[in-house]
Amino acid sequence: MIEERTAPKTVPVTVIVPAYNEAATLGDTLRSLQSQTAPPQEIIVIDDCSTDGTGDVARALGVTVVRPPTNSGSKAGAQTFALPLVKTPFTIAIDADTVLAPDAIEKILPAFNDPNVAAACGSVFPRRIRSIWERGRYVEYLFSFTFYKQIQDEYRAPLISSGCFSMYRTEALRSVGGWRTRTLAEDMDLTWTLYQAGRAVRFVPEACCYPIEPHNFRFLKMQLRRWSHGFVQNVRLHRRGVLTVPFLRSAVAVTVWDAVVASLVYLILLPAFALLLHNPYILLAYVVDVPAIVVPVVVGAWKRRDLGRALVSMPSFFVLRTVNAVFFLAAIWGEVVRGRKFLLYEKGH
């Protein structure tokens, strides 16, 4: 008996892939989209005036390539440039260095059975887990996607629909003007804007994507600067608007409190008190919350059958956490104290 294999039926989804000099990684991204169990109807690559042949890589794989007349200056600008070309009811935004699990689109699509859902995101895990920064980020993601984000979703208020992979209802996306360039975290801006428009956002843990995370401090610096400034900019921009969104308003307030206070405590207060009071036991505060991190990480890693690597990566997390604190305080200092809005988009994966 000859088994006939037929190509899976496409779903009414257009994928937008903004790309600036991404020739090295774009091919993997496009192939992961083309081999989906529920393949998208169209894939549009925005070749944002690349000089490394990004457009040629995309064309060779048979996807639609558009090129703005000048570099749009940011991911949000490139994505919004392509939005008028979308003809399907659903749009996916994905980074050019991110690959999807083969069933990611199939898994995320049912979230839109509820007509009020405007956006949905999935779990994120680093594609490469080798350097200290990638390992630290792996633990961060395991913790966040196993614990915090799942609870946020139970209360129907994920803090952010991740920019590296999210699906949107095209009509909702257009109604809010697409991705805006007014902050460095366009995904957070869009998520909070959708909430304020009365739309829902969901998190689908089973839909997984794998971006390339910064492998060295140079790239990490660019990414953390973008994230920390973007977060502060969004809090300032939406500080009144988020008050109308249940749970989100509390989650944002708690996150802001922790980001500021925890950073000050970590970097200044704990060592200062330990020195002033001649009491090294005070430094135990650095590790007393370890179980709060370890338990969700172990549960998340166990489900992925990757417990060993997660445990080995734990020390890297504490290094990354301290670095996060430095960048966050710098962002507060620049944006709030000095009043200088930082809008230079630097690609740091």
Partner: protein, 120 residues
């Protein structure tokens, strides 16, 4: 924490309480006729209990380590009984209550801001 944003100060307590309230919220939603996944709720509430127990256990172990580092020689020599020098769990109720009060203050501030905005 959200990836890239530091802090586990009161966030863990906020999410722990939010997870523990999920069963109650589930009952209310069920009464209102909304479909509820009890399995998902039990998983999250169970995880929150695991986090709480883990913190308590870590405090207890650290308390024990203090003894072995600082006073184990005295105990070994029989100079003092173990029960006298053991400092107990280093996670104090006072610290937990302090964190809870801080969280309460932050959430109250949000509610005040919300009502102030509504009145304007």
């Amino acid at each position: 924490m959200t990836a890239g944003i530091p802090g586990t100060g009161i966030s863990w307590l906020f999410y722990l309480l939010a997870a523990l309230l999920l069963p109650l919220r589930g009952i209310i939603r069920r009464i209102r006729g909304v479909r509820v996944s009890w399995r998902a709720i039990a998983g999250k509430a169970g995880l929150a209990c695991g986090v709480f127990l883990g913190i308590w256990l870590a405090g207890w172990i650290l308390g024990l380590l203090f003894v072995s580092v600082a006073d184990s020689a005295k105990v070994a020599a029989g100079a003092v009984p173990f029960s006298i020098i053991w400092r107990g769990n280093i996670v104090r109720w006072a610290a937990l209550i302090g964190a809870f009060m801080t969280l309460f203050f932050v959430l109250l501030t949000v509610q005040v801001a919300r009502f102030a905005r509504r009145r304007r």
